[in-house]
Symmetry: C2
Subunit: 352 residues, 2 copies
Amino acid sequence: MKRKITLKQIAKELDVSISTVSKALRNSIEISEDTRQKIQAFAKLYNYRPNNIALSLKNRKTKTIGIIIPEIVHHFFSKVITGIELVANKRGYNVIVGLSNESFDKEVINMQMLANGSIDGFILSIAKETLQQQDYHHFTETINQGMPIVMFDRVVNEIPCDKVIVDDVKGAKEAVEKLITNGCKNIAIITTKDYVSVGRLRTQGYLEALEDHKINAKSSLILKIEDKLMSDDHIDKLENEVEQLFESNKDIDGVFAVNELYAVTAIKVARKLGLKIPNDLQVISFSDGVLSRHSTPSITTISQHGQAIGEKAANLLINRLEAEEVDYDDETEEVYETVVIETNLTERESTK
Amino acid sequence: MKRKITLKQIAKELDVSISTVSKALRNSIEISEDTRQKIQAFAKLYNYRPNNIALSLKNRKTKTIGIIIPEIVHHFFSKVITGIELVANKRGYNVIVGLSNESFDKEVINMQMLANGSIDGFILSIAKETLQQQDYHHFTETINQGMPIVMFDRVVNEIPCDKVIVDDVKGAKEAVEKLITNGCKNIAIITTKDYVSVGRLRTQGYLEALEDHKINAKSSLILKIEDKLMSDDHIDKLENEVEQLFESNKDIDGVFAVNELYAVTAIKVARKLGLKIPNDLQVISFSDGVLSRHSTPSITTISQHGQAIGEKAANLLINRLEAEEVDYDDETEEVYETVVIETNLTERESTK
DNA sequence: TAGAGTTGCGAAAACGTTTTCGTGTTAAGA
DNA sequence: TCTTAACACGAAAACGTTTTCGCAACTCTA
């Protein structure tokens, strides 16, 4: 019922000025021992805490980080959030989350909602629709207004900001090389259409690995899935496409999937067709999820370390925020960093 | 570089007063057509947006909801967030997320960080440690300060607030009845220690179902897992316990698991012991996750509808927030609602 | 005892809004 | 020509802080 107590109320109650109360609570030496004790006791009694909003207004900083991600029901993204929240909290920041649902409009609106003073900076991963439309004005505008951005995973080079990524090419290459080493002769890739940058890069890694080992890539072994099929409603269409892949390439003995769902679908279809894992078919997936660890057989993965990505992104952002205070808008050209988080191969039952 | 533009700057630039600018932008009839147009054009040019923090301070409301959950890397919780974010956004609110990591202290600290003006109300699910310690003072204090709370899933009755829960007893009962109907004679339950309320309630549902069908519950068929084993590090200890369960009860033909991980572990162990699913053993899990849908065999579940829970919780909270405005702290006793979201059985391959 | 220094506190500005209440100017009515 | 009303705008307060500055009332020192 009783609203939170304010400096003004304490001042009135104790018959001193607001300034005195403020100083007393911050242990200023200007205030006599006596009054200081009196005020602090009173404040403690009424459980006084400074109003955050007022502080934000006064200091022109909110100590809050805005996160914009495509979706949250996704192991990778929630791991990243965990990482961000961890260091944010440790460094005295809060975290406010906006979901773009892969939609350009929602991304723009969400950013506008937050950019009006609610937060000090953004950490984000770009929506697929935005990547398709290649319209990045909302990012540049935000940056021009002096609000720093850190991008992770899905990034675009033309935006001047810090970035945290995994080396998709290298990771994919490592996966495919593992398959080759394990004796696979006909390795298929299940990937996304090229406008999804991670899909494109992982496909590139696949091709490079083949090339390095003097294996000719066959286009029939490259299955590029239309993105709409990621949703659970279209799971059977996805299965169909994968089944066709196997049917028309009976000699496939290795699959590299760019995400967990594709991998698990490949395994399901392969089994239906009578293939034994890992004897007839070996599978490696790019991922950081629970599916590969707990499904049967468990799936060998290139893991992305989502939490590490989140931690790094948060540190980059907060470092920049707190550096600004000293640098005080000097005219030195900003220099941005792109941090690559190493992936690593976790072997499980889907490979020999 | 250039900070966001303010009313004051526009006023100065156009040589009018701040009030005039404010009124012009809000289309007040006090302002002449001429100046209004001029000001609006200027504001549009410089992309003026009112500073949210200033508005929050003035209006004494932030249009922001605080979410405190035990963890975010969890399908159920991220689904709930999705639901909250959906209606929050639709109704003009933002969402700020704090993670308790199941720790009492982090829960308290997170709530204190947010309760100092940063948000208008909480939506939360209680940390396990808090449930164990049964110390709820931070909730009551928050409520006493006039900040409404909506609890979901893990709730305690003694806190006066709106609640959104699933009928755990009923859902569990339905699951077990399904197993019975399907011919299972020796149904085991894999659940958590009793201090986790959902574990306790689901165990209760299990017992009720057995009783209703005149089946004697056998304590050897009730496996209560210590909570620490949920983490991925202890996955083998979990497997051991489950294996012991099967070894010492060779006649088990049905398993009801209170979460996905237990179910998937049960299946894994059962297979290792040579049991066929669903012929020798049928499994039903309480869950809303991706594991049950995509693992092989896919798992029949009692689904919790996390998103619906989130939506309902957000609507309850926002309704209360916006009702307060009119009621204006009248002394009518607050009356709180407990909404039960219906679970339902989704049949998959792990049952006949 | 006059001047200087110390001590303890308050007034006011600032952060960026919105809104109430004036107030000066002009137009209309008597 | 005088009063009144309409019109267009500005001053100021308020939201809750922090901080700079000023100023009394002391306490020393010479």
